[in-house]
Subunit: 337 residues, 2 copies
C-alpha cells in the first residue's frame, strides 16, 4: 500500500495524504478524518520514506534550550517542534542549566547527533568568534542576540525583540502614570544575559525621564526563577526603600514579586504598580492581571526554524529578525494621585 | 586528545570527566570547572564516541507529548530529557494536538526515527491491543494508564498517580470543611481521558459523603485550556446553580475558574472554595494561592525513563508504578460557617 492508494481510497489528493501523515496544520478536518480512516482500516505505516532511503546523512536539527522550565519557552518550543517536523526534519532537543555552557553542548551535539543546524533558545550575549569556532554548522539564536560579543553578523542568524527598547517602553508606561521611584527586578545588571540589555533600557528611560536612580532601586536575584524573585523582593522590601512601582524584566519574576508584595502588605496596583516583559499565559490569570509587553512567541519559533531551514537548503543567507512587542493591559498599573 | 588526557590535565578521574561531558548532575562544581577549563583551553570536542562507532542502530528514544503547552508537562519533559541524555540515549520529541492520534505518531516515529523505545506523555486511556499492534518497540505510558482499554499489562509499562483516588481526596478536603454543593470542572465526564478517571473519583466521593449531585454541577469544557475553563465557568455561573466549592481536575482549569469567579463577583475562598490536582509552579503564585494535590512530576519523568531503559537493556520486564500525591495547602479553601 502506498500513499497513492490511500489518496484513492480516501478520495483526496496525494499531497493531502502527505500533509495529514506529516501532521501539517493546513488540512481540513474532513480530509484528515477520511485519510486517517483509511490509514487505520488498512493499518498503513509508512516505511522508511523515499527521502529516508536516499539520504546519507541525518535530518537532525538540534535545539539547545537554556532553562527549559522557563514558562516563556514552552510556547516557542511547541512552535519550533511543529515547524521542524513540518519541514521534514527531526528535532533533537537538549536542555542545559542556566549556568551551563551552550556552546560546548551545541558542539558535542553537532558531532554526536550529526546535526544539520542548531537553534539556541536562550543563551549568553557575549559569544566570541573563537568560542563559536567549534560550531561548524549553521545556527540561529532565538530570543537573544550578540550584543556583547564580536560575532560576524553574516555568519549566524537571530530572531528576537528589541529588548532595550521594550524595557524603555515598559518604564515609560509607569512614567506616564506619574511614577518616579521605579525599582527594577532582574537577574543581574551586568550578567551578559537578556537581563543586562533590559536593564540598560531601564537606565535609558531613567535618564530620559529624569527618574530616581541608584543601586537601592535594583533588585538583583541572580536567577530567572519565580521562587527566587519572591525571596529577593521580600528581602528587599525590608530595606524600606522609597518606591511606587516595579519593572520586572520577565513575567515570571513579576509573579514572584506580586506574591512578595502581597505577603508584605503592599496592594497592587493601589500602592505599587507592576509591569513586565514576556506575556506568558499564566500571568493573565493573576489577581490582579499582570500588565506586560508581549513577545510574539509563536512567530519567534516559526521564524527561527524558517531562517535555519532556508540556510540549510541554500535558499538564503543569514538574517537578523527583530519582531515588535505588543502591550497587554492588565490590572497591575495605576496612576499616582 | 582523549578524555584520559583531560582527566590528567584537570586532575580528576576519568569517570568525572565523562559525567561532566554528559551533563550528569552528580558532579561537584569545582570538578566541573576544572574539566571545562581544560576542555575550553584545548578546544576538545568528542568525536563520534566509541559507543557511536560500534553501534549499528540509532540510540533514539521517542517522546510523544499530547499538548506540550500544558504547563504540567514542562517539568516532566525537563526530567525525561535530562535522564535520557544521562543514560546515553538521544531524545526525539514530537508533540501532537489534544485530539491527534498518538499511536499513529508513535508508529511512524518508530520507523522513521529508528527508535529503541517510546514514552507517551499523556494520551488516551482506551487503547486496544489491535490499535497498539503497530508499535513493536517497548513503550511507557507516563501520567496515564489503560483504564478503559484491554492492553496486556505485561506488554507495556506505566507511571502515574492513582487519579481516581486523588480526585476522591480532593473532594474529601471540601467535604471536611462542610461543603455539600461541589461543582466539578473537567474536560469531559466520558472522554476516556484522565478527566474521566478523576470524574469517577469525584462521583465516588459524592456517593460516599452523600453530597449534592447532578448534571447541573458538572462544568464540562471539552479541553484542558485555561482560557476555555475561564469561558466555561463564566457561562456556568450565569445559570445560578447553588454551589459553594469547585473541584477542578487540573491546576490549569482551576486558574481559569478562579479568574471567572473573580470577574463574576465571587470571592475565593470566602464565598467559593477551589481545589485541584497537579501542583504546577504558577498556581502557587495566584492570589489566593491554589490548594492542590501535587503530582510528583520529577519522579514521574525519572521513573518513566528508568522503566524504559531497563527494558531496552534487558534488565527488567514491564512494570506499573503508582506514585503518591501530596497536598499543597494554599489559600483557596475555607470552612462553611
Amino acid at each position: 500500500m502506498t500513499i497513492k492508494d490511500i489518496a484513492r481510497l480516501a478520495g483526496v489528493s496525494i499531497s493531502t495524504v502527505s500533509r495529514v501523515l506529516n501532521n501539517h496544520p493546513d488540512v481540513s478536518k474532513e480530509a484528515k478524518e477520511k485519510v486517517l480512516a483509511v490509514v487505520n482500516e488498512y493499518k498503513y505505516i509508512p516505511n522508511a520514506s523515499a527521502r529516508e532511503l536516499v539520504k546519507t546523512s541525518s535530518d537532525n536539527i538540534g535545539v539547545v534550550v537554556r532553562g527549559l522550565s522557563n514558562p516563556f519557552y514552552t510556547k516557542i518550543i511547541t512552535e519550533i517542534g511543529a515547524r521542524i517536523e513540518e519541514a521534514g526534519y527531526t528535532m533533537v532537543m537538549q536542555q542545559i542549566g542556566t549556568s551551563d555552557d551552550e556552546i560546548l553542548t551545541g558542539a558535542m551535539m553537532e558531532r554526536e547527533k550529526r546535526l544539520l543546524g542548531l537553534i539556541f533558545l536562550g543563551g549568553r550575549l557575549d559569544y566570541t568568534k573563537e568560542q563559536l569556532s567549534s560550531i561548524t554548522i549553521p545556527f540561529v539564536q532565538c530570543t537573544f542576540n550578540n550584543q556583547y560579543g564580536n560575532l560576524d553578523k553574516s555568519n549566524y542568524s537571530s530572531v528576537g525583540i528589541d529588548d532595550n527598547q521594550a524595557a524603555y517602553e515598559a518604564v515609560e508606561q509607569l512614567y506616564k502614570r506619574g511614577h518616579r521611584n521605579i525599582a527594577v527586578l532582574l537577574s543581574g545588571p551586568r550578567d551578559m544575559s537578556v537581563s543586562q540589555v533590559r536593564y540598560e533600557g531601564y537606565l535609558r528611560a531613567v535618564k530620559d525621564f529624569n527618574l530616581e536612580s541608584g543601586d537601592d532601586l535594583i533588585i538583583s536575584i541572580n536567577s530567572y526563577n519565580m521562587a527566587d524573585a519572591y525571596t529577593g523582593v521580600k528581602k528587599w522590601l525590608e530595606k524600606k526603600i522609597k518606591f511606587t512601582a516595579i519593572f520586572a524584566i520577565s513575567d515570571g519574576l513579576a509573579m514572584g514579586a506580586m506574591k512578595a508584595l502581597r505577603d508584605g502588605g503592599y496592594k497592587v496596583p493601589d500602592e505599587v504598580s507592576v509591569i513586565a516583559i514576556d506575556g506568558i499565559e499564566a500571568s493573565e490569570y493573576l489577581n490582579p492581571v499582570l500588565t506586560t509587553l508581549c513577545q510574539p512567541m509563536e512567530k519567534m519559533g516559526n521564524r527561527a526554524v524558517e531562517l535555519l531551514t532556508d540556510i540549510i537548503e541554500g535558499k538564503k543567507g543569514h538574517e537578523h529578525v527583530v519582531l515588535p512587542t505588543s502591550i497587554r493591559l492588565g490590572e497591575s498599573l495605576s496612576a499616582l494621585k
